[in-house]
Subunit: 368 residues, 2 copies
């Protein structure tokens, strides 16, 4: 049995496997290949569960993370982040190590520098901004896309793979209708690009897929691959967006109760910003940093929105509870915090434990 | 010279030493002993600079961090966090290892359990809430304090040291007048406690001190020790509060530029929430996640509020720049991000580099 003394990241394997199976099924039904984004779990052990289900291609969010997974046996990796040309050595190493390595480009300077440094060819996607306004060429800017494509064509070491987007603006949606509207708007733009350039580049593919859209939308016609990541664990934010239920959230941080303040129904938990991250969400007008749940021997109970973290400092979490929940808790108990943002929570905790006490690795224990 | 390829936490040793010297001087002038909070730097190497200046007593924010510093040679440590009774073994180890170990208690259950598990005596402070409403007994609640004191007196292993507070509500202040008002209100409450209990406990001390109040206030009469931490590096939040100037900020994260978007004067930086934390602050109505500065060979230039991070995702930072700054930048350049919250930034980065390329350790590389 699991003995908890300090903040500990718990992994509910059953829920995690259900999320993985479900997303594999959804991708198959949609006729898309799944290239899960491993930036969420950042774990070879959890990656293995995908491998066992036939997944052979992944996305990662940094070249260092690509090295971690390449050395763990994955050899078809897309680094879904604008190529960082300063890491030339690492790019060369990865291009040798991986059977298939794909990088993102969005400017002729990226393309030129990348082509110059490589010895072995690799694939490139043109990063497309389909509305999130974070990175990429604006989807309607055919002229810029065409110019970059021409530049790629004269490269000796770059193989054009297609167009890649991340509709991150889906995180602002609330509910299925809003998610679907964003998904249709975003993939509509991608389809236009395909129509325009498929004659010139008949093997080009479209890569899309954020967790909200992939969790809800069924129509992915003409999209070739999906790259969601967060679905592996989901979190309170995804629940609020409408991507999942509270029962789908697969990680929680076990936090010791260190003080009780009955006059304001608040607990002080050992578990702060260095464990959970400062990501927050507004629910019913209240900014919250996580939901508080009771913790049993082999599961956490499903939380409700009346029990939440109202504040976080470096190591302290301040939990606001209903009277009945508050009355049951004593100092020295351990409660479970369901994260607002599971990727950042896992990144900070850098290791997982399941209820049998087994440990699962995280990239963060090795790098940085 | 320092070669930067990926996000790298830079330490400006000159500024850091100036901050340390200044706080030592302020404490001396105020007639208080300084017990710096090492939760900010979390570094034995940086701790050594305090040691070289005669500091022998420190605060930390967890028992694990206490172990790290105790094993690094510090032996007068206050764990400025509500005692976590689940870490009994670690408490026992520390009470053997440190000549002086002080823990915080605020309930009779803390006191009882702590007394039961100890073999060797240690010091306890009663944690007092002087207005921050995070943890501790309300400062005006003499009855509760007296009751707890009586409980401590019958313990065999607990030595009552005094009252300890953290006026965290100073973080809501803007400007000297507001900081001083909070400081006077908070230490006024602490003085009342001293007056009330000094007869019974003639050796009790008062411990106070958050960075804003310690950076600005001169009147600390009757306060025995100060425990600021953030001043070691300061940050954009402290500058906005009024604790420091921009020129006092002693760390910055070097981030490669990976994309430029001229139509909105934005850069994409390799540097996101996993490097900088999601802590933010509103300046001129704009939520910002850091200030963007030019980076030279041996220093960063002082930033201004027109150049800032407007958004952060897991690995991406989106910088909004003035036209003239934007025009100077090319993809592959490296810029410096001055953090909103240096403690969390350092906690995420887990190592420091100076401009000569020297490395400095961080607790996070060893634990968790």
């Amino acid at each position: 049995m699991l003995q908890i003394e300090t903040p500990t990241l718990l992994l509910d394997k059953t829920r995690c496997l259900r999320n993985i199976d479900n997303m594999i099924l959804r991708s198959t039904k949609a006729g898309c290949s799944l290239r899960p984004h491993f930036k969420t779990a950042q774990s070879l052990a959890i990656g293995k569960w995908f491998w066992e289900r036939g997944v052979r291609q992944i996305s990662v969010s940094s070249l260092q993370m690509a090295v971690y997974f390449a050395e763990g046996g994955w050899d078809d990796i897309t680094v879904a982040f604008p190529v960082n040309i300063l890491e030339g050595k690492r790019i060369k190493y990865l291009s040798q190590k991986c059977a298939k390595l794909q990088l993102l480009v969005e400017s002729s300077s990226d393309v030129e520098q990348l082509d110059n440094l490589l010895e072995k060819p690799l694939g490139v996607f043109i990063k497309i901004d389909s509305g999130s306004r974070r990175s990429g060429i604006a989807a309607h800017n055919f002229e810029a896309v065409e110019k970059l494509l021409e530049r790629i064509k004269i490269c000796k070491k770059l193989i054009f793979k297609g167009f890649l987007t991340h509709a991150g603006h889906s995180y602002k949606a609330r509910g299925t209708t809003e998610i679907l509207a964003i998904q249709q708007q975003s993939i509509g733009l991608m389809r236009n690009l395909k129509s325009r350039f498929i004659k010139d580049c008949p093997s080009l593919i479209l890569s899309a897929g954020d967790t909200p859209c992939c969790s809800v939308a069924d129509d992915w016609a003409e999209i070739d691959e999906l790259r969601p990541g967060n679905f592996t664990f989901y979190d309170v934010m995804q629940w609020q967006i409408g991507s999942c239920s509270l029962d789908d959230i697969a990680i929680a941080t076990a936090c010791p109760v260190v003080a009780k303040h009955p006059e304001r129904l608040e607990l002080v938990l050992y578990g702060g910003a260095v464990h959970l991250s400062k990501d927050s969400i507004v629910i019913n007008g209240q900014t919250i940093f996580g939901l508080v749940a009771k913790l049993g021997k082999d599961a956490w109970e499903l939380p409700d929105v009346n029990n939440y973290l109202r504040g976080l400092s470096q190591e302290h979490g301040i939990a606001k509870l209903s009277q009945s929940f508050f009355d049951e808790v004593v100092v020295g108990d351990v409660l479970a915090i369901l994260p607002v943002h599971s990727c950042l929570n896992a990144d900070l905790m850098r290791a997982y434990r399941d209820f049998e006490g087994r440990s699962y690795d995280h990239f963060g224990s090795y790098f940085r």
